[in-house]
């Protein structure tokens, strides 16, 4: 299957010196796929999101949508519609001077040029599908709750009829009870519309919930790729292991606490914190990242998939049956 959105050896540098925010990264999104990108602050995941969405040009490398690089896609090109994005801050993502209905109708009128009344009608329908009440549609973002704003943001993206939705931390600003509503909505949209989703998140459980494939980013590079459920059951890269083990209620995974300045410019950026670091790790970039069982990790000493899975120390909300 050909990828609808593809990053090839993409690098992004801000400023002249310092390490790149995104460093020679490859990623392919097939139609209808669910790809999770996990990383902590500073991993470069939000920079990657904006490059994938075509609003931030990479320093080198190329991002292609439908086989054509973003640089060759004109503003009014129908390809432009195919990748849309939803944001972390549900309020900041909306124009504060437009009502929910107007924000969505604006998109419809811009792309499909229907009559004003028809655009409003379609916008209302779309917002209703997203679970917004008629009363809320007439309000500006300030009069809406965070969850409602996120629904408007999703409706506005869908008004373009995209193939890929890039979701940058779509629920991290929401309350748990509202987060579940938005996650369920995104799951339903994937099923009903065959939408591919690129989910950028620091929350592994959210990624687990919404995607089939996951990539873990550390310091601008993808360090591990795997089917989502396998990755979180038996992480191969020491960093993924640390990440999974750090979730409250989980154990396993460790990090060196004392930083070793001697490995500051190590080709493996995780080396200063890595408990499995050895002398031969210096060859990490030329080392074959493919592991038995179809797994992939950019690591010279990975935990093999057969290794003991990370442990749950607690029930992790056994109340749920």
């Amino acid at each position: 299957m050909t990828a609808i959105l593809e990053a090839r050896a993409v690098t992004k540098r801000f400023g002249v010196d310092g390490p790149p925010a995104v460093d020679g990264l490859d990623l392919a999104v097939a139609p209808g796929a669910g790809v999770g990108i996990v990383g902590e602050s500073g991993s470069g995941k939000s920079t990657l999101a904006r490059m994938l969405a075509g609003v931030l040009p990479p320093t080198s490398g190329e991002i292609a949508v439908g086989g054509r690089p973003w640089t060759a896609v004109d503003r009014r090109d129908q390809l432009r519609r195919r990748v849309q994005m939803i944001f972390q801050d549900p309020y900041g993502a909306l124009n504060p001077w437009l009502s929910a209905r107007d924000a969505v109708a604006e998109v419809i009128r811009f792309w499909d040029r229907p009559t004003r009344a028809e655009a409003r009608e379609r916008a209302s329908q779309l917002l209703a599908d997203m679970g917004l009440t008629a009363d809320a549609m007439g309000r500006r973002p300030r009069g809406l709750s965070g969850g409602q704003c996120q629904r408007v943001g999703i409706a506005r993206a869908l008004a373009c009829a995209p193939d890929v939705l890039i979701a940058d931390e779509p629920t991290s600003a929401l309350d748990v009870s509202v987060q579940a509503q938005i996650l369920n909505l995104l799951v339903a949209l994937r099923e009903e519309r065959g939408l591919a989703i690129v989910l950028i998140s620091h929350d592994l459980a959210v990624v687990r919930h919404l995607t089939e494939d996951a990539a873990v980013m550390y310091a601008g590079r993808i360090v591990e790729r795997a089917p989502t459920h396998e990755m979180f059951r038996s992480p191969a890269h020491p960093y993924t292991r640390l990440l999974v083990g750090s979730i409250p209620g989980m154990s396993g995974g460790e990090a060196r606490t004392a930083h070793d300045p001697g490995v500051a410019d190590h080709p493996c950026r995780f080396a200063p914190r890595c408990p499995r670091r050895a002398d031969d790790c210096i060859a990490v970039r030329s080392h074959d990242p493919h592991l038995p069982g179809g797994r992939w990790a950019e690591c010279v000493h990975p935990h093999l998939p057969a290794a003991a899975p990370v442990q749950r120390t607690q029930t992790q909300h056994g109340g749920r049956t």
């Binding site: 503003r75 993502a93 506005r156």
Partner: protein, 285 residues
Amino acid sequence: MTVALRTRLDRGRRRGASLWWGTGVLSAVVLLCVLAPLLSPHGPNEIVAVPFSAPSAEYPFGTDALGRDVFVRVWVGGRLDLVIAAIVVGVSLAVGTVVGIVSGATPRRWLDALLMRFVDALVAFPFVILVLALIVVVGRTRSFWFLPPGAPAIVIASLLVNWSIYARLARAETMSLRGSDHVAAGRMLGYPQSRIVGRHLLPGVVRITASYAVADVVIVVIATASLAFLGTGVQAPTAEWGSIMYEGRAVLGTSWWITTFPGLVLAVTGLAVTLIADALLKVER
């Protein structure tokens, strides 16, 4: 969160009061400027009584060195001051906002750099020297349309310096809005630059520059009056707050009313406008 709620409530209450006071007082001043000369039986340059008459029931602000009615002159002069302020602020607001947005939103670095260096040069130029130079160029006696002698130089000089402040404000706000998610979303949705500027940047930028414009009115009024007080502004015999005060300064000890009343009206106007500006600037985004 509730802290935010409370401060918002408090702010709302204070804002309401200062807005009402400001608007009320300013309306009264404007109304007097319009009506008082119409209701008065004599003109601003008409000699009506003995020079240096103290305030009385007939001449509430007294008379000046030539025996003209200071009350009428103050309100007629107010018209000129407010009109000059309106022109200067209105044009500065329009030009500055447009230049600022263009400078902040353009993807062409050189255009932004060019506009901003120009603005820097204007800001760095000493205002009083600019006015003096313009008065030499335009001439003290040159009038233009309804502007009396001296006024065109003031308007041109103020405009030249003033719009650049708006341009800077507009540029800064444009830059900060440009980084916001809703503008990024607009790009992703394929909107052309014109639509992003017009519908997603302009409303936010105008909020900022328009709020500043209200505060600027008082600055321009005071600048106009000060120039006249220095003798380089609006020329005699045209009435204007600064020129009336200028004429009365020599006899301040004996005929205090000539200087005091226009000064008082100027101060009250300034206070009213400041109250309004204060209230508007506090409006949350």
